[in-house]
Symmetry: C2
Subunit: 188 residues, 2 copies
DNA sequence: CACTTTACAGACAAGTCTGTCTGTTTACAT
DNA sequence: ATGTAAACAGACAGACTTGTCTGTAAAGTG
């Protein structure tokens, strides 16, 4: 027995991604992760120096995925209003599929101590990146660049608020309300 | 020694309020609470059957405080736009004073398990109450009641999003951006 | 075949957590 | 003054936490 399976690191990261997202960073322990990933504890600490570093690896991986999605959307030839609407509709699908677990970054930030600089930095990076994306999308519809930045920021807040409240209320109306408000903002 | 101080329950609740808010529900233990409150563990469990019940008592107490503030604001004779602006400015002061700890309800909801029905109910209650308040405030400026409800919901999302992102970014601009957007929404 | 990398199993340390329990002391009201 | 309620101190149980350590087994490479 003890059949050695390769790619322990990948298995750990995938399992941890699922668990961190569904149960929150502080709600999951190393023991549960390695048990569900089918690895030994020594294998874990060979690849990750600490639980926090596993967390930052997770946040970074989902950040990269969303970055490519956003780049594709920005480059798409559809009208900006339609792209924005479909961005919110993507969010709605994501929230329903994940049982309204909300934003992984905000959730993690709500529990991680101040003495977790790596995690805090990852959250900051992702949030600023989201803001930048929405400003760029707004700029595709609004010529005045100063006004576009302002509208982009407003949409950023609607996006964040709808994610958070859909999580709290376990309902989808916040996302639809935010989508309509955001699209209206673009349309002038 | 062992000078018996009365009002152990109050001291516990006050201490826990401070700690839960600053460090998050899952980041604070019973031992820390009773130590800082200067009570014995037995005294704690005489007043609260569990940590969760202490948490719901905390959430309820701050909910009641904000309810009276909102009732006063709704009844004030100032124009609705001004009231809304000052509601956001209150939020900004609160966030700065608390070192950007964000919304106690959302923060608690991000970590409490699904098997904490009392906490979940308290969050739901507060959030629905906030939504109702903002709908009522919007109705004071918008005659069409259906449109007022829609605008109230949008402001609710701006309010939530600005709180959340001010926490993540540790900056105040989200609150000011949300305030301006919200006031504009009322003004037509 | 020999060597190195990778993963395995699992005990262990040192600390945390919630909650229970026993017993003592203080304050107050009758 | 006597009974009762509330608060005290603190040991204890049992489970959990992160991280370390020792040793072994399997796979790939020269």
């Amino acid at each position: 027995m003890a059949t050695r399976k390769p790619n322990a690191k990948e298995r750990i990261l995938e399992t941890a991604s699922e668990l961190f997202f569904q149960k929150g960073y502080s709600g999951v322990g190393i023991n549960e992760i390695i048990e569900k990933a089918g690895t030994a504890k020594a294998s874990f600490y060979q690849h990750f120096p600490s639980k926090e570093s596993l967390c930052t690896a997770w946040l970074r991986s989902i950040h990269e995925r969303s970055e490519t999605q956003r780049a594709e959307l920005l480059a798409s030839p559809e009208p900006p209003g339609k792209k924005l609407a479909s961005y919110f509709e993507q969010l709605e699908k994501f929230l329903v599929a994940s049982h309204y677990r909300g934003c992984p970054y905000s959730n993690t930030g709500a529990v991680s101590d101040e003495n977790c600089p790596g995690i805090v930095a990852e959250i900051l990076n992702h949030k600023e990146s989201t803001r930048k994306f929405l400003r760029a999308l707004a700029a595709q519809a609004i010529p005045d660049s100063e006004r576009a930045a302002e509208v982009g920021d407003r949409i950023f807040l609607l996006y964040s608020g709808s994610t958070s409240e859909a999580q709290n209320l376990k309902q989808t109306w916040p996302v639809r309300v935010a989508r309509d408000a955001a699209v209206e903002m673009l349309g002038r």
